[in-house]
Symmetry: C2
Subunit: 252 residues, 2 copies
């Protein structure tokens, strides 16, 4: 499949799992996928986390797949009764679902024929019309149907599936980003100037991100744009502002 470059390629993530909502499992996939998509020039626009409830999964899928170029799901494709993602995706698409011989063939690399019991064959249930996504780690595949990409919840397996599917995706113009360190300057000191600066640089998104170290806040200013020249001009202006504020605050 050839990679297609478009002006704007968007995505959402649908995280599926009671264990994330209960706090028992701390999600590690959202941040990973977010950074990965930024790097391949796909704009992540929304994330939802829903429980292992078919109606919730279908509603989330339908809302997101209508709106974004791609929807990436994580979780719920294992062999146990609480793994209902594949069936929910089939329902959302109105597609039939059954054990897929291609998936069984992939799983046969790991399981001997006698080991492929009914539970494990649940992992080979794939909606009709879906393309499989190889799983080099534990063999049971993910899949893609329409614009929905269904991946495992276990981070190492999800990451391997993302590496498999990424080269087949359309990508847009990459969002460029540059960070200016504003440590030592309170946000309240530069917020007014930064707002004027942001307004004077259309095509560049400017954000200020505080973090709290215990000793106090340490701030970073981030400029983002798909246009390198616009970005460079905004970053130059931010650096100038920060240097000026440091000079103003230095003891005479």
């Amino acid at each position: 499949m050839d990679t297609v470059q478009q002006a704007s390629v968007t995505a959402a993530i649908l995280v599926i799992g009671d264990e994330i909502l209960s706090g028992r499992t701390k999600d590690k996939n959202i941040g990973y996928i977010a950074e990965y998509l930024t790097n391949i020039a796909i704009d992540l626009r929304e994330v939802r986390v829903v429980p292992d409830v078919e109606a919730e999964i279908v509603a989330g899928l339908d809302a997101l797949r209508a709106r974004y170029t791609y929807v990436f799901t994580t979780g719920g494709i294992g062999p146990t009764h609480d793994d209902i993602t594949a069936d929910s995706v089939a329902k959302a698409f109105g597609a039939a679902i059954d054990v897929d011989p291609r998936a069984v063939a992939m799983m046969s690399e790991r399981y001997k024929p006698g080991e492929l019991n009914a539970a494990r064959l649940r992992m080979a249930r794939i909606p009709a019309g879906a393309a499989l996504i190889a799983n080099p780690i534990s063999k049971a595949p993910g899949f893609r149907i329409g614009n929905v990409i269904v991946m495992a919840g276990v981070p190492s397996v999800m990451q391997a599936m993302l590496d498999e599917i990424a080269p087949t995706l359309a990508t847009g113009v990459r969002m460029l980003s540059e960070t200016v360190d504003a440590a030592g300057l309170p946000e309240g000191i530069y917020a007014g100037g930064l707002a004027e600066l942001a307004a004077a640089h259309p095509g560049v998104s400017v954000g200020s991100y505080p973090s709290f170290t215990g000793a106090g806040f340490s701030n970073q200013i981030v400029a983002r744009s798909k246009d390198a020249a616009l970005l460079a001009a905004a970053v130059e202006a931010i650096r100038h502002m920060v240097a000026q504020l440091h000079a103003d605050r230095a003891p005479i």
Copy 2:
């Protein structure tokens, strides 16, 4: 304010911030709030992450506040131009918003009068009718309006605000949870038995959670219920199943 106990108290989290969607910042609040709410008997049912775009924030707020007892937002209440949460919340509620003298008084504990410039006073903009949430760390308050609780994005500040607001919230019946270690047993071995067991224990939610260590999968089975006796019976059955499977697999 007295704490009220209800049969089921539900919640959603709305995470607001471009930096989470770009992957620049890895969210640490979802997992923290999820675990916190479970501990105080509030059921987290959904999470959404949206960008710093007013229409997206308002749409997320409106969808979630209509559906759940509480909506907790994080992010976007600082002094810079990209901090638009308070204004977006006011818009969702059709409420006026202005600098609130109560918030200014709180902030005056930290800032001298001359330091409260226009940017910092943005942090005192509170929708009409909202109750303030004290911020012991950096003083600029969060707030609650209707069933929406607006908190900072910086984790230490968010956590302090959650401690402030939690005692005032209605709480439900606590979800009890017990974990049975199934290390050494593949999910595909016990999935069939576990499905039957789950069906035989209504009122108990049973999940199986694999993690991948590099050496292989290590699984845990989690049973959850609001009824201690139902939970104990299910856990007993799970333990029995696991012990039986270990015995079946032991060399003779």
